[in-house]
Point group: C2
Chain length 110, copies 2
DNA sequence: ATGTATTTATTCTACATTTACGAAAATTGA
DNA sequence: TCAATTTTCGTAAATGTAGAATAAATACAT
């Protein structure tokens, strides 16, 4: 791949970050994916996707202030960039377009 | 991966096979992808996706009769199976669900 | 106040799966 | 056999998955 493409998992993470706005960080993303889908990715999977997504310019991040909860390192909060939005929108419209071109006949025998 | 997941490219191929019904085979798929998207995958990429998709049970195939054209090996025609349809439908509805949960605020600053 | 335990998070490292490419092999009609 | 398609194969690169290691912040005992 040319490094500019959005993988399946990457797209999911991007969408979840949107849903979680403005409180998207590693663990919260992991939990939200577990809640909304059938999968429970390991935390390492999330973070490697996040760093690739940031490299590609689809995400930006900043460190949050420390909270006053029990323990914890500072959270790294993520947001979608303009080009990230563009990427998921392109995927969305491409899929809709294709879907609409599938003839009814293709499902008839199922 | 657990062997049951649908990669990004695999999903695209599946959709294109629907669009091309009932004449989806390697080269035609490659050409249709080139026509409808920004990418031009090599023929080998198509065939490796096809064989994985068939292994996963999302596709079935059969050899077409020989044509009366100049030359050519017999085409291997592909069709989406019931579980293939189910897989793309699940992805579609999950993405729509997530998309609808993204607050407007998430885009405000772009 | 200082040090240690506990909690929450991110980083690091390794490996599996998917995607990509292009050359080679196979099959068919002329 | 030759030319035209099409699939198959071998290899490399990108993406996805996992869990242990590390870091940082608070709580608590001394």
């Amino acid at each position: 791949m040319k490094g500019t493409h959005l993988g399946e998992f990457e797209e999911l993470v991007l969408l979840i970050i949107g849903v979680l706005y403005p409180n998207a960080y590693g663990l919260a993303i992991k939990q939200e994916i577990a809640d909304q889908t059938k999968r429970s990715p390991a935390i390492g999977a999330i973070h490697s996707a996040l760093s690739r997504l940031e490299d590609k310019g689809f995400l930006k991040s900043h460190l949050a202030d420390a909270t006053h909860e029990r323990g914890g390192r500072r959270k790294k909060l993520y947001e979608i960039t303009a080009s990230g939005k563009q990427a998921i929108e392109y995927n969305r419209s491409l899929r809709n377009t294709l879907w609409n071109q599938i003839p009814e006949l293709a499902w008839k025998k199922l």
